[in-house]
Amino acid sequence: MPLDTHVVLAQGFVEQLWLPADYWDLSIPVYLFLAVVAGGGYVTGASACLLRHLRESGPCCLESELARWGFMVAVAGAAGAGLAVLSHLAVIYRALLFPIYLTNFSSWITIGTWILVVLSVIAVICLVLQLFGEGPAQEEGTSLFPRAIVAKVGLLETVDRLVDRFRPPMVAFAAIHVLGSLLAVATIYTGFELAIVETVPLWNMPVVVPLAYLFSGLAAGVGLTVALTAFFEREVGPVVGGYAVATGVLSGLGLVTVWYGWTVLVASDAPAAAASQVALAETTLAIGAWLVVLGLAVALVVGVVVGGAALTGRRPPVLERLAVPALVGSFGLLVVGSLALRVLMLLAAQQDPVVVLG
């Protein structure tokens, strides 16, 4: 959004030529958000699978529910991110033919496209393996609702049989999870897409912005998975508690990174940095800025307190009763705050003006 009303003049020796800076619409922050949420969902799903294997948990355990909800968040996030970015492009078919057209591997858009596409494929494979086959057929839980849909079209037995037939061995499954988890962390590219833009001081922080995007996005992805599991299972056991703590810690890291980025912005003497700072602190965007802080801070407190109590099994009755609504509410707010961070980064973006020297 251009902030034409904020004219910065260093009197006496320069003139500043402000340029319009409204090249991206809101589909871009949605894309940048959902891509990392997909990563968070995937990490949750993969780690829950590992936990289930290590603990030798039986069917219908919360690890299975977490794994399925996690992979569903990953698939939905990746699909949403893909649709959001495609909706912004002028020539969609060229983007769909990305192996042919996106050839500049020094561009983060090209790198990111490959990361998101491969992560999507892996997440779909993992979700299908968690939903269909002999094992899942014996389980119960809300997260198995896609089985009911496939059963309605009369293909459940066929799909179960096919999945069992092509189910990879444990070693291959582990390799898929390792690759998927690396790609989930690689969704940090969403931050680099902005951070390398040297004309925008609000973005041009090559460490802060990627880390802020990674921490807040992963927190939203893990938190959303925890919230879905807690909401549908009405249960917050030690495993869910552990993930809630992880969400809280990631939110805290995100909060610290965002705060550090703000101090860097305030300390900058670049005119466009000042314009972005004014926009974030003194315009209606300030409401969004406080929403980001609130979302991350509340998730930190609730995640650590409620999750920690569930993890250690020391829950007073009040916490027992409030655990589910507290986690669902706070992590829902986290998702909104994390998205708001991306929206603000776009709306408050201001390009450095051209300085006409005397």
Binding site: H6, F13, I196, V356, L357
Partner: protein
């Protein structure tokens, strides 16, 4: 590799008539309401009676480092080896607008199709017209002068190989360019009324006046 072409601009000779942007549109057969490849912005400061205005004519500067090219995912933007002119292959552009953020001069424009187009130094005609063209010829070699250059009534805009443009610039402008002014992307004459102050800035003195915000 041929010599890098570049633009030269003298704000002291520009009268702000917009002939350059109109000539650009005519040469490239672009609609009157299409975004300008060459813009003229009137910068002003102060209030009457202490009011100053300076017109600034800008377009793609065909930067030596071409930030737009570096971020373009489909390699639709090309920094040509033979003359340094930055061209666009619209048959590869996906319309992601990443180049617009990277450009320090706001040069990329987007038409109704959503594809990027910008100045091609009159290497070709129309959006994408410069892509794949042979090496740019100077007027002496029989090449056309860019429309903005040939129609500028005050000779405020020049374009050509870097050594030729540098030879026509003032000593101050050339020195400033060598010192890295404007990222060494365009050669601009100092505004005459502020020349003394600019000298003091170059010598490392603190700029006079405080940074203020108005909004």
């Amino acid at each position: 590799m041929g010599e890098q072409w570049m633009f030269y601009f003298d704000p002291n000779r520009c009268i702000g008539c917009h002939a350059c942007s109109v000539a650009c549109k005519q040469r490239h057969d672009r609609d009157a309401d299409a975004d300008d490849w060459r813009t003229v912005t009137h910068l002003s400061r102060g209030e009457y009676p202490d009011f100053e205005e300076v017109p600034i004519s800008m377009s793609c500067m065909h930067c030596h480092d071409a930030p737009c090219e570096q971020v373009c995912p489909p390699d639709a933007i090309v920094k040509r080896d033979e003359d340094g002119i930055v061209t666009v292959d619209r048959d590869r552009c996906i319309g992601c607008h990443y180049c617009a953020w990277a450009c320090p001069f706001g040069a990329p424009t987007y038409d109704d199709e959503g594809l990027m187009s910008k100045c091609n130094l009159c290497l070709g005609v129309g959006p994408g017209g410069g892509h794949g063209q042979p090496e740019r010829q100077t007027s002496e070699e029989g090449g056309p002068a860019p429309a903005c250059v040939s129609d500028c009534v005050g000779d405020a805009i020049k374009a050509g190989p870097q050594s030729e443009v540098m030879a026509e610039a003032s000593r101050e402008a050339a020195e400033r360019f060598e010192q890295g002014a404007y990222g060494k992307r365009v050669l601009v004459e100092p505004l005459e009324e502020d020349a003394d102050l600019a000298d003091s800035i170059r010598e490392g003195d603190q700029p006079a006046g405080a940074i203020t915000y108005e909004g």
